[in-house]
């Protein structure tokens, strides 16, 4: 069986700068891979290239054996890839509940059924479970833009799991959150990994957050894998 995600010689150049320089790795189902490196080492650009939000200059990405290089992010998402962002990227004017439903609805039914079907796209229960799972109870109807930073990070991560993805790319999930939330988050990710067999690639600047979580670690410096 092929690896769940296979990245081969991925390169992204901005002018003469190589933000990502010939990165190759594979990740098996159920694995948690950590990618650590200092600021500017190309970690987020690597995610952008894998997810289709930046076109790579060279290289190939395969998800479950299927080439996804050059696909748009929405297409990659429908194939079972999900991601979070370094700074929480939410729909600020929508409520927490609406954010969660929005994150899952495009994976349910056809375009037509989403027009004439239930307003919650049948995701109200899943959204409620997610709010409980990520300790956002009591905030379901609050606008996402009015949440605290830690809550926004939790919502950002919860949204990534709404469509039950096969692989989640987590971009600095613990950035800017306090130790208590960080520990809670680590425990939640571990639980999802154990219960659902979900596969993660986690980017972090410091290895502390991922040290006890990851099954494997890559170190990225100036766009290259050095360890």
């Amino acid at each position: 069986m092929s690896a769940l995600l296979s990245v081969h010689n991925l390169t992204k150049r901005f002018g003469s700068t190589r933000a990502v320089d010939g990165v190759s790795f594979e990740i098996e189902r159920g694995e948690i891979l950590a990618v650590v490196g200092p600021t500017g080492s190309g970690k987020s650009t690597l995610f952008d290239c894998i997810f289709g939000q930046t076109a790579p200059s060279a290289g190939e990405v395969r998800l479950d054996g299927r080439a996804i290089t050059g696909l748009r992010a929405c297409e990659a998402s429908r194939l079972g890839l999900a991601r979070t962002f370094q700074g929480a990227q939410l729909f600020a004017d929508l409520s927490v509940r609406e954010n969660l439903i929005a994150a899952g609805q495009e994976h349910r039914g056809s375009l037509w059924s989403r027009l004439v079907g239930a307003p919650d796209a049948g995701l109200a229960d899943t959204a409620a479970e997610m709010t409980t799972f990520f300790r956002l109870d009591g905030f379901a109807e609050r606008r996402a833009g009015r949440l605290s930073h830690s809550q926004q990070k939790l919502l950002d991560i919860a949204m990534a799991f709404m469509a039950r993805p096969r692989l989640v790319l987590l971009d600095e999930p613990a950035r800017g959150v306090d130790e208590e939330v960080s520990a809670h988050l680590r425990e939640r990710l571990r639980a999802i990994n154990a219960q659902a067999g979900a596969t993660f690639v986690i980017i972090e600047r410091e290895p502390d957050f991922v040290a006890s979580l990851a099954t494997r670690m890559l170190v990225l410096v100036e766009g290259r894998v050095v360890a």
């Binding site: 992010a73 962002f85 729909f91 929508l94 439903i101 027009l115 307003p119 300790r135």
Partner: protein, 322 residues
């Protein structure tokens, strides 16, 4: 009273007023009110494009014109009125889709320029292609519709017909907004990068919003031609497009009731303020500038804030993680 109940009550009272008010109006007043109803339909369409997809269109006047001319062309040749609806809606949707497709191939800010050029192009066709459009003389004797054998030619009947159209369009848009499509539009407007990351085809939804918005412009044009029973190029210049854009912005971009208020300020209020002459335009421009500077959510946003302040109980803050 909770905010939702207040909204429904306001909408109900507004509907009753719109049903009752013609009985106290002169023929001119009724004409203005009918014009408001169909202008609101065009503004609702533009509100989909601007308020939902976040795309600025300067071509809504051209779509109204296309709808009006298509109606004039087919109904004066004996085609039934419903055919004009279908034709105008379909043609404007298709043109809106095409324009949006071209604009999105480059970059977002190009839609205003593209629609501006499209508007100028359409206006030139209306004015110069005399064999088709009658040129500056336009097309006369556009018939008004009939419904189940009942003539809607009279001003009262036609006003209620336009009001019915407005209710149907508003209900359809209300349905759309509360459906997952509406949530997708809201997500697209709020954060396109995240929207794409959660599987939302931002290009498709943007094109749908532009096309539907243009289609409703076409529907407004159908009613416009039947109201005046005459079409000529003059009203469908850039002025109409800019005016519709200002209505949406002033009423409250992205808000369901925004176009109703915006169109009322632009169409009905000038009739009541005729004594002010051109000072009205000065006041209107100043109001738009002030709204943009201090209340970008428009008149409906101000009304909502007032309603919230009046109805909201004092909230006890929930304990949040730091």
């Amino acid at each position: 009273m909770n905010p939702a109940a207040l909204r429904y009550a306001t909408a109900g009272i507004g509907a009753l007023v719109l049903i009752a008010v013609p009985f106290g109006l002169t023929a001119d007043g009724l004409h203005v009110l009918t014009l408001w109803a169909l202008t609101t339909i065009a503004a609702i369409g533009l509100n989909l494009t601007l308020g939902q997809a976040g795309q600025v269109s300067l071509g809504q006047g051209a779509f109204v014109g296309i709808g009006a001319y298509l109606t004039a062309l087919v109904t004066t040749r004996g085609w039934p009125f419903p055919a004009a609806y279908v034709l105008a809606f379909a043609a404007c949707c298709a043109l809106g889709w095409g324009l949006g497709y071209c604009a999105l191939r480059v970059r977002r800010p190009y839609l205003p320029f593209l629609t501006l050029a499209f508007g100028a192009f359409v206006f030139l066709i209306f004015r110069n292609e005399e064999w088709l459009t009658g040129g500056m003389y336009g097309i006369n004797r556009v018939p008004r519709p009939s419904l189940l054998g009942l003539s809607l030619a009279g001003p009262f009947a036609f006003y209620y017909f336009c009001l019915f159209n407005l209710v149907v369009v508003a209900a359809a848009v209300w349905w759309l907004r509360r459906s997952p499509w509406g949530r997708a539009f809201a997500a697209l407007r709020a954060n396109p990068r995240r929207a794409e990351a959660v599987g939302l085809d931002t290009r498709l939804y943007t094109l749908m919003a532009i096309a539907l918005g243009a289609g409703l412009g076409g529907v407004a044009g159908v009613l416009y031609a039947a109201l005046l029973q005459y079409v000529d190029p003059t009203p469908f210049s850039l002025t109409m497009s800019v005016s519709l854009l200002l209505m949406v912005v002033m009423g409250g971009s992205g808000r369901l009731l925004g176009p109703f208020l915006g169109a009322a300020v632009a169409v009905v209020l000038p009739e009541g303020l005729r004594f002010a002459q051109n000072y009205y335009l000065f006041g209107y421009a100043l109001a738009v500038i002030l709204l943009m500077a201090f209340w970008p959510t428009g008149l409906i946003g101000i009304a909502e804030r007032l309603a919230t302040a009046l109805t909201k109980p004092r909230a006890v803050p929930a304990k949040a993680p730091r």
